[in-house]
Amino acid sequence: MASITLKNLVKQYGDGYPAVNNVSIDIADGEFIILVGPSGCGKSTLLRMIVGLEDITSGDLLINGERVNEKAPRDRNLAMVFQNYALYPHLTVFENIAFPLRLGKGKHTEDEIKRLVTDAARTLELTDHLERKPGNLSGGQRQRVAMGRAIVRHADAFLFDEPLSNLDAKLRGQMRSEISQMQRRLGVTSVYVTHDQTEAMTLGDRVAVLKKGVLQQIASPRELYEQPVNLFVAGFIGSPSMNFLPATLEGGVLKTAIGNIGISVDKATAAEGKRVVLVGVRPEYFEDASMVDDAKRPHGSTFTAELTHTEWLGNEQYGYINFDPDPEVRSLLDSLARDMDADELRPQIVVTLDAASRIRGGRPAELWLDTRRLHLFDPETGENLTRDAEAGAALTEEANTARAEEIANARGREGANA
């Protein structure tokens, strides 16, 4: 068990390009941290710096308060699960899991090794496969062997480098929940790198969003979703992603391409003095106006727009509205799309409608928008003008309490079973 502290970590390659730039994160004991971002954002590099496979250019890395910058990977007592498992093909599953134990010569007797490996194998349901070679295992089984190698040696922390990206979608979901439960049961500090949103949102106590080596925001998944700090985080988290709509603010009313939207006074005050703002609206903030509760209706504003088409998914449906932005705003949206790994951000708004809605494409339709939850962004800096830091902090605090409880429960159960 350990806490890990990253203090102003920088990784600079020979050409001077900083792959990781001034990243500081405090990881508490037992916490599950996700590093997420588009490819090339430095998330894997950061993980490899923690484990010691990449040198640290500057900054401090502390494990349990002790500086470990210069320590070799083997002296850091961390376990890592690699993207393509890195199993030793010439060894059986048993020997693969026993590998870390055998390296510490004389530390474990043969009986002890046998007991530890069979225990780990039982946890991971690998008992029947102990004598097989990795080449004869399925993807999911290989993944579990890789995890076995990590849990067998009671490392201070687990590091995962996109461990599920080689599995098919169904297995990925299953392994995701296994990893999550295992982490809670063992209560071991974990750092997990992924580019998959679902993994980031479901696994993490806190999620760190990186862009071009710079930490954008680190917070609980809910805080990231509801109180993003800037355009990039807002656009990266959530699927389908947040809609960005250019607007001019005139006397508490947002004039947009899809109509006028009235907003509350405090939101209007926050954006005061800006000629143009980007309105960030998540698809589910929209609704078919005829399906909105009367109690909810006053919290939003109703407007008429023409949908190009709709997609019915069973539990809900997506509608699409095209709009024509200024060239200036358009180039901003394009650069944002590039940051997020997409080719271009189409000037299109995605709205989520109730599955029962009768709205269809090609006809003007009445839509309702929940104006309480939208955010206003500064188009130049990308900063979120309406972010409520306190509400955000409260969400993260909530997540922390929930985690502490879960770990306590898991340890209580473990104690009861033992």
């Binding site: 007592n77 093909p89 390296l103 080449g135």
Partner: protein, 280 residues
Amino acid sequence: MKGSRTKERVVWTVISIFVLVYALFPVASILATSFKEPSDLTSGKFLPTNWSGVNYEEILVGDAQGLFLSSLWNSIGIALIATFIAVVLATLCAYAIARLDFPGKKLILTTALAVSIFPVISIVTPLFNLWRTIGLYDTWPGLIIPYLSLTLPISIWTLAAFFRQIPWELEQAAQVDGATTWQAFRKAIVPLAAPGVFTTAIIAFFIAWNDFVYGISLTSTEAARPVPAALAFFTGASQFEAPVGAISAAAIIVTIPIVLLVLLFQRQIVSGLTQGAVKG
């Protein structure tokens, strides 16, 4: 669908049998000849009338013994030393090529390729003169050095290709698991690299073992003459008798180590050990 598959099978079987017969018939013929008595050599039959070991007797304990056994010893010694040096150097070189990025990497590979396609015969004469001047003529090193020029390029190429396939992530995984750099290399990488090194060693050994041109040009006595060259010096019991039987027997004997090597290391040679380390 099923019909076409059977048909395909038949076609492949026929082709395989044809290739096998084509490749093995000369060997079978030499084998049969090696058991013929001298009088039987011109009988025109494939199999000997009387199976006799007289040819083997001659080269192992008889008149040709001195010529054959010393050349056998030379061949084994020279080929083994040349193979060993080539594999050690090629392993280091291929490791660097596969793992590191350094200027001139491409140059090394192209030079190796250029050397390996260079016609041997064109350097034999200058080498002959040079070796005589500096005293390497008719010595073991005098053959080992040119053999290295034959075995090194191909060893570097096969090993570099092999090393590129090794999942080097394993080395890092081992380090994270608690291994020192040396332990990681020895426990995770060497077991994977061994089959490739073995295969390369066998190929290099074959090349050195089978060479004739250097063997005949750069030696003059039993001090260094290898078997392929020595075979040319066999004489019959009298000057009217062709030494075909003895040559056949010697050819069979020098083939045996090669066949044994292939049989012994068959599994390493065809090994797919790297499978399963990574996804796929």
